[in-house]
């Protein structure tokens, strides 16, 4: 089926070329980091995890979100999502690959990465995270490929794909739960030490991931003959809306506990993020942008008239997506490191080299996603053309 990705329009090739250039630039930047060390990033002794791990955390959420299409379709027989399921699964594939790559570029000694498998350590959450991420990646590739291959040949998908798909549901929940556990079990990091962390992660994932999936579906609908129905879009938009409401609600629960209890260590990170702490507040504008976007996005999606406005819809979804990204792909990880073990504030500012590597990884993910979606669209459109031929 890969041959389907080789034939495309000029616009398709131009898009891939742009991504290839970005990947090359990212790779060059990574070579620099590899030879010099992580000193080329903005990370420090006090902020040992920066945007790389934050992107990893965010993308695991995007990957988990495919399940919001799979559950209605497979468990509740909501057939309108039929065409979207494979888009969700392939989005998950691209997102998991990016997530794993972000962990890889973050390693100080990447050549030793297989030590994680050579010395399996069940008491380390990172070990479990790698297990569930690997399994989820594999399951999604296998399902997507098998279902699409059957479709190409005009057969219904084999029965075992259904079993695997059902299995992918708890796996999707587990990848984000385990990722939350990386943070939620650390004594002395008050901002992360919260029982609601995994729930908050999932809520944010089920808002940001499907939001991205709808945006991608709308783009595909606009530029190709592959049409996702309005019914499917509207149903998924509702999921995004309620997941985002849950996400904001969970966040407000954190705010209440921290500030009503008035325990300084539980307030410090939130203060740092939203008003600044000890004169440091680089993230303050970003966090308020996130807050405004979150509320604006929810309002636009909650009012039925605004939600059904297809011109406004992409704006609302981008607002939700960016809000989630700022919350989890920036604030959550960086805020947790403030203050440090001595009550001091150390700021983190990513370097240009670090940002280029991040761009490179995202470009690689988009490249993979483009190829996968191209194959899906090619298979579907060819089939439909043949169907219409036989009809007439």
């Amino acid at each position: 089926m890969l041959e389907k990705a080789l034939r495309g329009s000029k616009r398709y090739y131009l898009w891939l070329a742009i991504l290839a250039v970005l990947i090359a630039v990212g790779a060059a930047a990574y070579t620099r980091q590899l030879t010099y060390g992580l000193g080329l990033t903005g990370m420090s002794r006090d902020v040992p995890w920066g945007l790389y791990i934050a992107q990893f955390t965010f993308l695991v959420g995007v990957a988990a979100s495919g399940v919001m299409v799979v559950i209605p379709h497979y468990l509740h027989n909501f057939r309108a999502f039929g065409r979207m399921v494979i888009l969700g699964e392939f989005l998950a594939v691209a997102a998991v690959i990016m997530a794993i790559l972000f962990v890889f570029v973050d390693l100080g000694q990447p050549t030793r990465v297989l030590n994680v498998l050579l010395h399996p350590t069940p008491h380390s959450i990172m070990f479990w995270d790698i297990c569930v991420l690997g399994a989820y990646l594999l399951v999604n590739i296998v399902i997507g490929w098998a279902v699409l291959g059957a479709e190409k040949k005009g057969f219904p998908p084999p029965r075992w794909t259904r079993i695997l798909t059902i299995l992918s549901i708890p796996l999707a929940i587990s990848i984000h739960t385990v990722t939350a556990f990386l943070y939620a079990g650390l004594p002395g990091k008050a901002y992360w030490l919260s029982a609601i962390m995994a729930a908050r992660f999932l809520a944010s994932a089920f808002a940001s991931g499907p939001a991205l999936l709808i945006i991608l579906s709308l783009i595909i609908r606009r530029f190709t003959s592959f049409k996702v129905t309005d019914l499917a879009v509207d149903a998924l938009v509702k999921i995004v809306c309620y997941a985002m409401i849950a996400n904001v609600f969970f966040f407000l629960l954190e705010v209440f506990t921290s500030f009503y209890s008035a325990i300084p260590s539980h307030q410090a990170s939130l203060r740092y993020l939203f008003v600044g702490l000890d004169g440091s507040g680089g993230l303050v504008p970003l966090m308020w942008v996130a807050a405004v976007l979150a509320l604006a996005g929810i309002t636009l999606l909650l009012v039925p008239r605004l939600r059904r406005n297809l011109r406004l819809l992409p704006v609302s979804l981008v607002a939700i997506f960016v809000a989630c990204w700022l919350d989890k792909g920036v604030g959550l990880v960086l805020g947790g490191f403030v203050p440090n073990a001595f009550g001091r504030v150390t700021d983190y500012l990513p370097t240009a080299n670090e940002l280029l590597i991040i761009c490179g990884v995202y470009a690689l993910g988009l490249f993979i996603l483009t190829i996968l979606y191209k194959i899906v669209i090619a298979v579907r459109t060819t089939n439909e053309e043949e169907l219409s031929k036989t009809d007439s």
């Binding site: 992580l38 000193g39 002794r45 973050d106 000694q109 990447p110 350590t121 990172m126 004594p187 073990a341």
Partner: protein, 317 residues
């Protein structure tokens, strides 16, 4: 399991001693790992335990520590005979008298001894510096005990801070490769050759005791001490309680340089010097509420009072 780990270390060569001379001597970097690997093989062969060693490694690989354990105890015994002077302990601990350290003005010597003998690079940028032991004041070391009306003497007192060698070390719990591990004697040690540099340990340590080599440390080492291996970029490091010294029956560098202000010994032995010191004075530990059970204690032997008078008895003013 940790017994096995410890003895694997011994085979590796880092702590194996031959007489009083450290078995591993400094080799210019790049060739260090290979050289050490050859030595490791040599050491294992010399002890006639090569086969047993690989059997043990196989046991670890399949997660069957029971198979590995007997193979591992043999080199442990051999090491013990190689360094007969090495004292054993159930749980090594440090007791620091910060006021005495200020009086003797020995802290700089302490840090110097620790950092120079362990080849800790001297990087001036606080964001990327590597440090095993340093000082901070009461308000920052013991934030939760801070108050506006502390005696000035205590407020101004500097406390040496280092790895706490916790009884329940979070860093060991989170490390995905067991590069950080707890030995049977309570010391939290590291295998710099296994560390993948993920920095989960740095993130999880509630004491900020860990440093990453953000770049190649070699240019920042004034003079390499051949008694301890140097590290390479991308790995984490921290205080190792001078395990290489303990194996030779010597006290840790900080203890030696402190002029009596830092004591070391077995916290599980009521007769030990550290336990005697703890029995005679109020002592505090950093963030004990987290349940990590630090093994580093700070004596407040009258430090809270402006006069030096009260020693031993009721420490509260």
């Amino acid at each position: 399991m940790s017994e096995l780990r410890r003895t694997q270390k011994d085979i590796k060569g880092t702590y194996v001693t031959k007489g009083t001379v450290p078995f591993v001597t400094y080799v210019p970097f790049m060739s260090l790992e290979r050289r050490e690997f050859i030595r490791q093989g040599f050491a294992a062969g010399l002890l006639g335990l090569g086969a047993l060693g690989s059997l043990g490694a196989l046991g670890t690989l399949v997660g069957c520590s029971k198979v590995a354990a007997p193979a591992a105890t043999a080199p442990a015994a051999t090491t013990a005979t190689a360094a007969p002077a090495a004292p054993a302990a159930q749980r090594w601990g440090l007791v620091i008298d910060p006021a005495l350290l200020v009086k003797t003005q020995a802290f700089n010597a302490v840090a110097q001894a620790c950092h120079s003998h362990h080849n800790v690079p001297q990087i001036s940028d606080p964001k990327t510096e590597v440090k095993w032991i340093w000082q901070d004041d009461f308000a920052h070391c013991f934030e939760e005990m801070d108050s506006a009306y502390l005696p000035a003497a205590l407020r101004e007192l500097q406390f040496p801070v280092l790895c706490n060698h916790c009884e329940n070390p979070v860093c060991v719990r989170v490390c995905p490769t067991q590069a950080t591990f707890k030995r049977d004697d309570g010391i939290v040690d590291m295998d710099y050759h296994r560390c993948i540099g993920c920095r989960f340990c740095m993130t999880s340590c509630p004491y900020g005791a860990r440093s990453l080599n953000f770049c190649d440390p070699q240019p920042y080492i004034a003079q390499v001490d051949p008694g301890y291996p140097t590290r390479m970029r991308g790995v984490v490091e921290k205080c190792n309680f001078c395990v290489e010294r303990l194996a030779q029956g010597l006290p840790p560098h900080c203890v030696e340089a402190s002029q009596g202000a830092i004591l070391y010994g077995d916290l599980d032995d009521p007769a030990s010097e550290v336990r005697q010191a703890l029995a005679g004075s109020l002592s505090i530990r950093r963030r004990p509420e987290l349940g990590t059970e630090p093994s580093v204690y700070y004596l407040l032997r009258g430090a809270e009072s402006p006069t030096d008078a009260p020693k031993g008895g009721e420490p509260h003013a």
